[in-house]
Symmetry: C2
Subunit: 316 residues, 2 copies
Amino acid sequence: MIVINFLGTVSGIPSKERNHPAIALEYHYYKKETLLFDCGECVQKQLMLAKISFMDIEKIFITHWHADHFAGLIPLLQTMNLEKRKKELKIFGPEASKFVNNIINLGYFGLRFPVKAIDVPFEGNKISKIDESKEYEIFSVPVLHTVPSVAYCFKEKDRWRIDKEKLEALKIKSGRWLKKLKECGKIEIKGKNIKIEDIGRLESGLKVVYTGDTKPCDNVVELAKNADVLIHDATFSEEDEDEQKYHSSVRDAAIIAKKAEVKKLILTHISRRYQSEDVKKLEEEAKKYFENSMVAKDMMKIVLKRTNSPRTLQPG
Amino acid sequence: MIVINFLGTVSGIPSKERNHPAIALEYHYYKKETLLFDCGECVQKQLMLAKISFMDIEKIFITHWHADHFAGLIPLLQTMNLEKRKKELKIFGPEASKFVNNIINLGYFGLRFPVKAIDVPFEGNKISKIDESKEYEIFSVPVLHTVPSVAYCFKEKDRWRIDKEKLEALKIKSGRWLKKLKECGKIEIKGKNIKIEDIGRLESGLKVVYTGDTKPCDNVVELAKNADVLIHDATFSEEDEDEQKYHSSVRDAAIIAKKAEVKKLILTHISRRYQSEDVKKLEEEAKKYFENSMVAKDMMKIVLKRTNSPRTLQPG
């Protein structure tokens, strides 16, 4: 199960209702793991409100080094230090080594836990696998903004599920050999050669893509292909579109969602000029191009399971 | 008139109720001027809630370079830039040149307005005048913390007020000559030599002192002598006092307030271990040593006038 927590959803200048960008993705499998995508101001306050521990965060993915996307890192690192963190923290981003080094040397930190910066490619069109665990992979791709910027994809690994009927037809009891079959793809048992595809079906892992700041971009279409959720920059309504700004409009984001054939589009990085009463209009605008569109709010949660449609929990 | 806005009142790790340290001092004379003392995370959100414009801030005074006291600067500078600020911003602090330079080179800022860093002495016992306008002076003094740190004093200049009865006794009509008399201290009019002390009385300017983080410190007693308001580090209750921490307890702060003969003590930099129900106990503890003591809350305001006692406006 994945829970996507929208901690901050505004563009450059914050408002009373919306904080600077930050998304906490909680991945529940055997254990829970928390990944943070961007880390704007007030991230600590928002994590507290969402009841997510600072100390559970293992990896932080920064899309680009504009202050609204990273300034929360500085007090967060200090808090982790004061809380006596020992575990390594990984920070991914374009030019991460340079900027993480700048941050660590910024004030009187005296960090007592290891911070590892991982540089992510920010030029060209190639999708890069930048991280992998037993359960998921993280990919990135360069996007179109004023400074080196990337989009990220969290992709749960596909898994083989055993089809009980097929298993019964073989007249072999289930047991530990099934685990080995899932791992190796084939096995010999009681003189029979069994392939995983004979008795299993491949279940797709969940896929979530977050663009950070970008103009409409073909790389995002590639990265987001068939995603369960695409979280896209949608700074302006189509009326207020501004080519100079290197951001996307609501329409741009919806067209990308359609091209990528995603299941659900969440519009974020909303300019402070739009008040809560404008949200419906923005959503209607997006729905003209892609039906399953929704504007993010601070503290909104999306719950994703392999077996169900996404469920949205609104704040309050 | 001075309005002291407590934007953040917690120590190192923020809580749901308290943000990282920041105090906005609004000085109303002919015009309004806003000075910011420390600039912790979420300062923009808190300024918005207090209805103080980001753009009104002319000067920022950082007590020391721990992230909880300065991390809000980074997104605040970005916002001022996005809002097309042109006016110079002055940032004072111990080693300000070094740290402000680090901050400006931290991300992709491209600042388009001038930022002037002013280094403030952080060793020894001397009180330094670090800034002056027509209406007020700012002083600093080194304090006792783990890194170079200072306390600040905002001192409104004393002003001569004309005593109407004395003026009438002289049988000279009031006029422009009074302004000149206030400026020069003496004047010859209708053959008479008049000194300002003959017809005026000196009205003391308001005085506010903020310690930042410090152990109890004689320099603070000197700086805060007869202050209208002393805002003092009070991280712990006396039970939880910890010599190792280079902070003050509630008792420490109250004893300093008594020694300095201030009018009012505001306890701030409160550890997150104390909930709102503990505030009364902390206040009682302080009152054993200094009666006019009070624990700060986020969004609390203190209104100071020369002619009245301070007035406290509680949030909500």
